[in-house]
């Protein structure tokens, strides 16, 4: 089984978000980058298929050379091979089109991407890829089993879950729940050493236009002071929620 996992390089979850150049650009100064958490859940599941079923795992990102540390990290976690498409990921369409070019040249049985990235939250890449390749697609995936050429995937729905099945190839939008938190792999020294020897191919992008452009950013308005209510006076809290905030 051949698995492709799409990886997005995103600011660490503790990052304070600031903008520069008249609020037109994200300030990357001092920002630490991580593997997008949803992608990491997907990668962890892919490595499980590698270890239990001998699958081959390729990781792919669309990004500049500054993304290479996290691609090396994916290799240290256990991916066999990495590909970087050398382009600035302008929007979800652009990225999905780049990825689809790679998919057309390789026979991946399973393609996993995070259901969304935690920076631009587009939630587009796996779905658009599925549309472009005309592959079956399950997003918000919280469980994935593969037997022969049939995938059984659970999708989280509002208020429950749905269990779906499909022939391979299939595209999965990964999210929390797909693997347990304790199963996330922290690379060990051996993994890190091996990762240096593994291939990381750099590929030129195809020529394609994004369909959206970010014109500017805005930060949320600063919040007013919290109103403290003494713990022995919950009546006052109820009064405030009812008469002032009007939410109960």
């Amino acid at each position: 089984m051949n698995i492709l996992v799409c990886i997005s390089n995103v600011p660490d979850t503790t990052t304070k978000i600031n903008f520069i150049n008249n609020d037109s650009e994200f300030d990357t100064n001092g920002v630490q980058y991580i593997i997008n958490p949803n992608d990491e859940f997907g990668l962890t599941r892919a490595i499980w298929f590698q270890q239990k079923k001998g699958a081959k795992v390729t990781v792919l990102t669309v990004g500049e050379s500054s993304c290479e540390p996290i691609m090396r990290k994916c290799l240290a976690i256990g991916a066999d091979k990495a590909i970087r498409i050398d382009a600035i990921p302008t929007d979800g369409f652009f990225v999905a089109n780049q990825v689809s070019e790679i998919c057309k040249k390789n026979n991946y049985d399973l393609i996993i991407a995070g259901r969304e990235s935690i920076d631009y939250n587009g939630g587009m890449v796996p779905g658009i890829l599925a549309g472009l390749l005309n592959y079956n697609f399950v997003t918000n995936c919280i469980q994935l089993e593969i037997d022969q050429n049939i995938a059984v995937a659970s999708r989280e729905i509002d208020g429950g879950k749905e269990i779906l099945s499909s022939k391979l190839p299939i595209i999965i939008g990964a999210q929390k729940g797909l693997v347990e938190e304790k199963d996330l792999i922290i690379p060990n020294m051996r993994g890190i050493m091996q990762a240096r020897q593994k291939p990381l191919d750099v590929i030129r992008p195809i020529n394609i236009q994004a369909k959206s452009i970010i014109k500017s950013f805005e930060k949320p308005k600063p919040k007013g002071e919290v109103k403290l209510v003494p713990s022995d006076n919950v009546d006052e809290l109820i009064n405030l929620l009812h008469n002032e905030a009007k939410v109960i």
Binding site: T13, T14, I17, P37, D91, G92, F93, I118, D119, Y120, N121, G122, G123, M124, G127, I128, A130, G131, F137, T139, N140, I142, V152, R155, E156, I157, D158, G159, G160, K161, E162, I163, L164, S165, S166, K176, E180, E181, K182, K211, S212, I214, K215, S216, F217, E218, K223, G224, V226, K227, S231, V234, L237, I238, L240, L241, H242, A245, V247, I248
Partner: protein, 317 residues
């Protein structure tokens, strides 16, 4: 030309977010001077559409569409969009809409922006305001396709009545074959979901263990609220993953969010920040949540919450 709104239904009734996207579509239609057309599947009672501003309603009643299937649904919507010459399509941010939106975008070769929180800043070119960095910021994004899809954030616009003259059409659509099979669906009934809830009650590690969750559940019950939790609480298996809210869990955009024994880590706040009013109960006055909250009680959850439940019951009667 038109603005197309997908009015989602469940068990032959409109979902709450259907009326919100329709209200948004109506407001946009006034700005753009276009008609607002709704497309719905398997609906009997359509009064709500006229009440919330539909100029035209297209209903596809077909028992084969009883179960949601992303590809089939998106194909039907794309056919209607082409027929109605829709330039803008509005979807909610339900799990199903987020699932079908990218597929629809490919079918129509359109752009798509999820998490939109307001009416467009400009309509030509179309510039929308949306959240990014998981609610830590907003961006103004220009959507520059012939057809553009807007995914409206839950609870961002509200439901507004606007009695209108609606023309009704029933449409029969030749369904494509969807090769994904639904084996089974498990849905908790009789419980408010985080996505639909006006009020969400969330518990953190400060509650000490799953055996104390009756505090959260009882409080939720008095208020008709959904229950949620912080990440470590779901990681430790005290509560199901589906209740985990925050940057790596579910987003919450309720009217009222009450956090009990949650410290208010940046990843937690990011996910719940779109909620309109935030309340925290925590015994540590230094807990970061107090900086994000509108109302706070410094106190022991095990003392404050039972009192709150008792007083709320009295208040509700």
């Amino acid at each position: 030309m038109s603005i197309l709104v997908y009015t989602e239904s469940e068990n032959n009734n409109f979902k709450k977010n259907a009326l919100e996207v329709l209200s948004y579509g109506k407001a946009l239609s006034k700005i753009m001077n276009e008609k607002v057309v709704c497309v719905s599947f398997n609906i009997d009672n359509t009064e709500d559409l006229s009440l919330h501003g539909a100029d035209k309603s297209i209903i596809i009643n077909d028992t084969s569409l009883a179960d949601f299937k992303a590809k089939t649904y998106s194909n039907c919507i794309s056919k209607i969009a082409k027929k109605e010459k829709s330039k803008i399509i509005i979807l909610s941010s339900s799990a199903d809409c987020r699932y079908l939106a990218p597929l629809l975008a490919v079918e129509l070769d359109s752009s798509y922006s999820p998490n939109v929180v307001d009416l467009p800043k400009s309509s030509n070119p179309l510039v929308v305001k949306r959240t990014c960095f998981t609610n830590k910021a907003f961006s103004f994004s220009e959507l520059n396709s012939e057809i553009n899809i807007i995914g409206l954030s839950n609870n961002a616009f509200g439901v507004h009545e606007n009695q209108s003259e609606t023309t009704f059409e029933n449409e029969k659509i030749e369904l494509i074959e969807d090769t994904i099979k639904i084996n089974s669906t498990e849905k908790i009934t009789g419980k408010v979901t985080i996505a639909d809830a006006d009020i969400v009650i969330s518990g953190g590690r400060g509650l000490k263990g799953p055996e104390n969750w009756h505090l959260i559940e009882d409080l939720a019950e008095v208020l008709g609220a959904a229950t949620a939790c912080s990440k470590p609480v779901s990681d430790m298996g005290w509560r199901p993953h589906s209740e985990h809210v925050g940057q790596t869990g579910k987003p919450v955009a309720s009217n009222l969010y009450i956090a009990i024994g949650v410290s208010g880590a940046i990843q937690h706040i990011a996910g719940i920040n779109s909620s309109k009013v935030k309340v925290v109960v925590n015994n540590d006055p230094e807990a970061p949540f107090f900086k994000a909250a509108d109302y706070g009680v410094i106190g022991d959850a095990f003392e404050v919450v039972p009192k709150l439940i008792k007083k709320l019951k009295a208040f509700k009667n």
